[in-house]
Amino acid sequence: MLTFQKYLRHVLCAIQETTAYRASYFINIVSQFVSYIAIFFLWRAVYTGNSVIGGMDWNDMQGYLLISLFTSALISGSSEFRVSRSIWTGNIAVELVRPVDYQKANFSITVGNGIAEGVLVAAIGILFALLIGFAVPPASPAAWLCFLLAVAFSFITKFLIVYIFGLFTFWTTGGMGLSWLRRGLTDFFSGAIIPLSFFPGWLKAAADVLPFRGIVSVPATIFIGRLPPSQILATFAVEAAWIAALWWLARLIWHFAMRKVTIHGG
């Protein structure tokens, strides 16, 4: 109970932290929308003259883009750099002298940031959807439930990937290059840039076994009803297995990092 309390408090503090600066809070969210508006119009241009591409019509695509925006916004820049920043500034020392599990504490903070930003992004997203007259939400309560579960899986998977890349800062000292690599891999293999159904067969096969698709493709295709219900359970099983694997992989990397590496800055 007390253990839960301490991580819950991390979540609450992170919510406060995210909303502490209203200006940057809103700018952060608006900036994500701006880039998505560009992508939205790009796809609309692609769809003029084509009614169905890669098994998706324009209506599907709009839903897909909306969910892609939403899941990307849940873990934003501040979470991205928290681990690497605290490693290269050496501030991690302060976090290590407390009786908290670093990985769980970081997850809790990311949850807090995600809630603070996610609520607003979801609200703006719904507004956006109404504005463009798009309305194909999941048909049944069961589909909604699957979608929400997929969002939770998306969040945890993305956190773990971000966290693991952050830990590599122990060896590289700088976090920038790592973040670009992470972003490139995630954006491509999650389906954030191009839906996976557009991929050539061999590439799609690769994307299907990697953990990244859980971040965008799975929740988005569930949302628009393009993931056959018969496949949903198996998909979730694979995602859960990936989450377990990544969670322990992160632990393993942490274990080696702590042994090998010094604390920067005295």
Binding site: R9, Y21, V97, R98, P99
Partner: protein, 337 residues
């Protein structure tokens, strides 16, 4: 009972060895070379509950590295270490509940939320009972003058205000030991004074064991009764402050004022080996002498043969000078013992 105990504690790092210039940097990219840097070697510590210990040494001597091993941040490369009977690294979570840590250059507070929220977070992290928390909060708020700071975000605090909050944070869960790594760095005299008073009080009233590193000798003399000096990773002195002076300070000095102009060349000739004029003016002179060979009376008599002394002042060796000698590598350790 010893709350801190180490035997033969060692820590070495692998550090990249880069040749100078761009070429060296490029070469390092493809064929990295490393060398072993020994930060701490063969450190034996035995610190009892309730002690207040200053851990002193020049930059890079291994102070912070030792503290980081005792707080569980770094894994020693050799030797044994026990803090409250626990291994700080392998039992990090349990050990961290018994210790408080202040890093002068860092903060435990979250930048963007009010200080009181950081306190609440730490209360939950350390699982401090509500009653203890309320008592401690009242106690620290009074002693450190935190009342106006609690509702501001840490970002807005001055260094001194922040450090006061950080001290409260480090002690909120009633730790048995508090480690302070340069707690007064960059602070003004008034804040330093307040922090020293606070540390002395918690040491006296609550029996908290204090281990602090500092370059400020005022901190050391004021707060600590025991001094441990580390240099180049090795402990070279461990004992009382007075003991250090007694053992290692060879020189005392006398400053005199004469009624007439002093004839410097003849005064210099009058001084025997072990007595030296270190400063001379028209009618003023400072003489340093080996206190194991001469008494003050001997030296004064010699001076009186060369000058008409009207007033004199005996200067006692101070800790500052000794530590400076250590830093400059001028202290010969076995001398005068």
């Amino acid at each position: 009972m010893n709350v801190i105990e180490t035997k033969g504690l060692c820590k070495s790092f692998r550090s990249p060895l880069k040749k100078p210039g761009v070429l060296g940097a490029v070469r390092h990219l493809f064929r990295p070379e490393h060398r072993e840097i020994v930060a701490v070697t063969e450190v034996d510590l035995a610190i009892a509950a309730g002690e207040s210990v200053a851990y002193v040494g020049p930059n890079g001597a291994g102070k912070s590295t030792t503290i980081k091993m005792l707080t569980g941040i770094l894994l020693p490369t050799g030797g044994e270490v026990r803090v409250n009977g626990l291994h700080p690294y392998h039992q990090r979570m349990r050990n961290s509940k018994n210790i408080g840590v202040v890093f002068g250059q860092r903060t435990q507070l979250w930048w963007d939320i009010p200080v009181i929220e950081s306190f609440t977070l730490l209360r939950d992290i350390y699982e401090v009972p509500e009653k203890t928390y309320a008592e401690n909060l009242a106690y620290f708020t009074g002693m450190l003058g935190l009342a106006e700071l609690l509702h501001q975000s840490a970002r807005r605090l001055s260094l001194g205000q922040r450090m006061r909050c950080d001290l409260a944070v480090a002690l909120m869960h009633n730790p048995a030991i508090v480690f302070l790594d340069e707690p007064t760095i960059g602070l003004d005299v008034a804040v330093k004074e307040r922090i020293r008073e606070f540390l002395k009080t918690v040491n006296r009233e609550r029996g908290v064991t204090i281990m602090l590193t500092s370059h400020d000798l005022g901190d050391i003399e004021d707060v600590c009764r025991r001094l441990i000096i580390i240099d180049a990773g090795r402990i070279i002195y461990d004992g009382s402050i007075q003991g250090l002076l007694d053992r290692y300070v060879k020189q005392r000095s006398i400053r005199i004022i004469a009624s007439a102009r002093i004839d410097q060349p003849s005064a210099a000739r009058a001084m025997p080996a072990g007595v030296e004029i270190v400063h001379a003016d028209e009618r003023e002179m400072t003489v340093e002498f080996d206190r194991f060979r001469y008494t003050a009376k001997d030296v004064l008599e010699i001076i009186m043969t060369a000058a008409e002394v009207v007033d004199f002042q005996l200067e006692e060796p101070d800790i500052e000078r000794v530590v400076k000698n250590v830093y400059e590598g001028r202290l010969e350790l076995e001398q005068g013992a």
